[in-house]
């Protein structure tokens, strides 16, 4: 049998710190990442009630700069970057000419003509090559894959601000949602944004990779009495699901259009030169014609947990399935089996019911609005 050599897994600067802290490590998008430390439930609840610290250094950072940087970003990013002030970020998509999703990302405006794009780990090389190619018509703009220059930590939870404030000179209370500042965290040069993937208040912290461990330790130590704990990708997934956030590769990909994914709000329909945005024409057409299917959030009515890949059915037993569950599990805070799936548009009204094929058994589910969880609005009944 032929020996196949697989490339070794990439490691973030915190790899040995995770291992010495007892994290269960797993492969993820070519990286060796912590899945969990004290357990997914424990970590999820820590983020919902106190704070959790995540290493997300595997994600990619692509910088675009030059006199025509804005025009360049406008071509490749679905949202309207001209609305970003310096020190502001927004959520956006990279689209194919068909209007389907190549990646989802955050776009930061570092300066009038300098942008930072934070992309998914599994897409870094493809995104960079595609961006470099498609910004050329914009003129004086260059893209750089700067991923190796950054480590990225995410501190998330209601106690995030009180934990981070002693470590940074900037007044965090003045930092609004989706804004960022440059400063020092634990004496280390950092860019801190009020963003996150959990549905809680929190901060994402870009630091030089060689200083990542120092910042990681400083946050855990300073936040010890407030109850911060290290958290892995397992909890990251259950938290974002409760918050109704899509996961690239599961809920959105190059077969789902931005409108089918119910992300029409990330499209800068009225931006200057919208027609130059890749994917714009296809989305205009789909908007006019109407989508035929759409993503919904759902919760199980019958017992059972709906998982990624399970068929969903709207017809009588025997009728072919109409789609698949794209994300699903039972989540620790809500303690409900919830998920996302694409359904024919006529079945997407909240309250509509459908069946999930759970390993051969049809179980009833109900469409519910997303997000499933909103901070400040809950009591877990």
């Amino acid at each position: 049998m032929e020996q196949v050599t697989t490339a070794p897994l990439k490691k973030t600067p915190l790899n040995s710190r995770h291992k010495s802290s007892g994290a269960k490590m797993v492969p993820f998008s070519g990286w060796e990442m912590p899945l969990e430390y004290s357990g997914i439930t424990d970590e999820h609840m820590a983020v919902r009630t106190r704070a959790g610290l995540f290493d997300v250094s595997h994600m990619g950072e692509i910088e675009i700069a030059g006199n025509d940087a804005l025009a360049a970003v406008q071509r490749i990013s679905s949202n309207d970057a001209s609305r970003l002030q310096i020190g502001q970020a927004h959520y956006s998509l990279l689209l194919t000419p068909q209007g389907t999703i190549r990646d989802d990302l955050l776009v930061y405006r570092l300066a009038a003509a300098h942008f930072l794009l934070i992309v998914n780990a599994g897409n870094i090389q493809d995104d960079y090559a595609w961006i470099a190619e498609h910004i050329k018509p914009a003129g004086d703009a260059v893209a750089v894959d700067a991923s190796s220059r950054y480590a990225l930590l995410a501190l998330q939870g209601p106690k995030s601000l009180e934990i981070l404030q002693p470590l940074i000179g900037v007044e965090l209370g003045d930092l609004k949602y989706y804004r960022f500042v440059h400063g020092e965290v634990a004496g280390v040069r950092a860019t801190v944004s009020r963003t996150g993937y959990t549905g809680e208040d929190g901060f994402e912290i870009l630091v030089p990779p060689q200083s990542a461990d120092r910042v990681w330790q400083a946050i855990l130590q300073t936040g010890q009495s407030a109850g911060v704990i290290p958290c892995g990708l397992g909890a990251r997934d259950t938290l974002r699901l409760e918050a109704g956030m899509r996961l690239y590769g599961n809920d959105i990909d190059d077969t789902t259009t931005a409108l089918e994914a119910d992300l029409g709000w990330t499209i800068g329909w009225v931006k200057n030169d919208f027609d130059k945005t890749i994917g714009a024409a296809a989305l205009r057409e789909q908007k006019a014609a109407g989508v035929r299917r759409k993503i919904v959030g759902f919760e199980m009515v019958d017992p059972g947990i709906a998982r990624h890949g399970y068929d969903v059915c709207t017809g009588a037993p025997g009728a072919p399935p109409v789609g698949k569950v794209t994300s699903g599990t039972q989540t620790p805070y809500l303690k409900k089996a919830i998920g996302m799936a694409y359904l024919p548009v006529e079945h997407t009204t909240p309250g509509a019911t459908f069946d999930v094929d759970i390993r051969g058994r049809r179980a009833r589910a109900r469409v519910v609005p997303m997000p499933f969880y909103k901070r400040g609005a809950q009591s877990n009944s």
Binding site: I40, D42, G234, G304, I305
Partner: protein, 124 residues
């Protein structure tokens, strides 16, 4: 981890507490560690007839679904329905969280089960 010497074990990480013709079945500490936080358990009805090696239910964590395999042939005479409401007890006390009690069809099958030493070696 020391596995209770009085139990028998299977390579599918179940423990069996034998008493006369009754076998109490659960999953081992190794199994619950592999699974992660248990959130859902599906168990059979009392009266279900099982063959050795047959799936008698499923145990689900946040990330995965695992089948539960009957270590012995026989009839299910008791089901721990309390576990369904508090599945996390499997993580906290795996060797104390029994799932089903099987009335064995044949005591000969018990000979094929592993003892604590053999099972410990398996998990190394």
């Amino acid at each position: 981890m020391t596995y209770p010497a009085g139990f028998k074990y299977t390579k599918d990480h179940e423990w069996i507490d034998l008493s006369g013709d009754r076998a109490k079945v659960g999953i081992t500490d190794y199994a619950q560690q592999q699974l992660g936080d248990v959130v859902y358990i599906e168990l059979p009805e009392v009266g279900a007839k099982l063959k050795q090696g047959q799936s008698f239910g499923t145990i689900e964590s946040v990330k995965a679904v695992s089948d539960l395999y009957s270590p012995l042939s026989g009839e299910v005479v008791e089901v721990n329905t309390a576990l369904k409401d508090k599945p996390e007890t499997v993580n906290k006390d795996p060797h104390g969280s029994w799932m089903i009690v099987v009335k064995m069809a044949s005591s000969a099958e018990a000979g094929a089960l592993l003892d604590a030493t053999q099972y410990t070696d398996l998990t190394k």
